[in-house]
């Protein structure tokens, strides 16, 4: 492995603006999970990308790039908390989560025999929804209304694109907790979209 700027990163940084933008966007999503202030999150991402450009550490393959960038971003976010003298570190942020909200959702969705209580209805033209601003507002709302840990696991998986092992590590949770959070996030989000968009649309 050559020292200096990793070749892959160099390619991304210098050659392909689209990919750089992709990474930037993903990093921003990640940062917004930790720092609930858009400007501060942007700053952290900017600093992380600059640091990545100057870094000497290599990484083995393309798939490691994002994890590596997120690693740098984490340090930048930790710096942010240190410099703003806020007392909640990333760890506190996780531990501080509301008491286990886990029990409820499956009991609302499945009966004692494990059957759907309200069976999933057929969603008409789901792709059409993606074109509508109002749908995105509802998606946003539904996602923010998930229990915090569930929403976080879901975002790390589906928006940041981390593998479950990385999510466990990031959130400091067991593999089985991670699995359960992801599943409950999907159940909750599906239910919310069905109620607030797909089933209610007809009445609009």
């Amino acid at each position: 492995m050559m020292r200096g700027l990793p070749v892959e990163l160099n390619n991304h940084m210098m050659m392909d603006k689209n990919q750089l933008n992709d990474h930037r966007e993903v990093l921003l999503r990640y940062a917004l999970l930790q720092v609930h202030n858009h400007a501060a999150a942007e700053d952290a991402v900017h600093e992380a990308l600059l640091a990545a450009l100057q870094a000497n550490d290599g990484f083995r393959n393309q798939s490691a790039l994002r994890t590596w960038l997120i690693g740098i971003l984490k340090h930048k976010i930790a710096d942010h908390y240190r410099t703003t003298e806020k007392h909640h570190s990333l760890e506190d942020h996780c531990d501080n989560d509301e008491k286990d909200p886990n029990e409820a959702i499956e009991q609302l969705i499945f009966n004692d025999k494990g059957h759907w209580i309200g069976t999933p209805s057929s969603w008409k033209q789901p792709d059409h929804a993606l074109e509508q601003n109002e749908f995105w507002l509802i998606f946003d709302w539904c996602q923010k209304n998930l229990p915090e840990q569930h929403g976080r696991a879901f975002m790390l998986r589906e928006m940041v694109g981390l593998e479950t092992e990385d999510i466990c590590q990031d959130m400091n949770i067991s593999h089985s907790a991670c699995r359960v959070y992801l599943h409950r996030a999907r159940l909750g989000l599906r239910e919310c979209l069905e109620q607030r968009w797909f089933n209610s649309k007809r009445s609009l």
Binding site: E25, L28, R29, L32, H38, E106, F110, K113, G114, H115, W116, T119, P120, S121, S122, W123, P126, L130, W136, F139, D140, F154, M155, R157, E158, M159, E163, T164, R179, L182, H183, R186, L187, L189, R190, L193, E194
Partner: protein
């Protein structure tokens, strides 16, 4: 015999890891008689697609 609750868990896990042969078989058998779980699968696929296009707002 697996319930819809069990199958929904497997379907969700299939988004994150490759299911075993036995698990895939259980899902396939269940799908023969359960449209709800088939829909659930389509809908969590849609969630992935949606999340992938989501742009965080200011």
């Amino acid at each position: 015999m697996k319930t819809c609750k069990d199958i929904s868990e497997l379907l969700s896990e299939s988004m994150d890891r490759r299911l075993t042969w036995r698990e895939r078989w259980a899902v396939r058998m269940h799908f023969f008689m359960c449209r709800s779980c088939q829909r659930f699968q389509q809908q969590i696929d849609f969630l992935r697609k949606t999340a992938g296009r989501y742009k965080p707002k200011d």
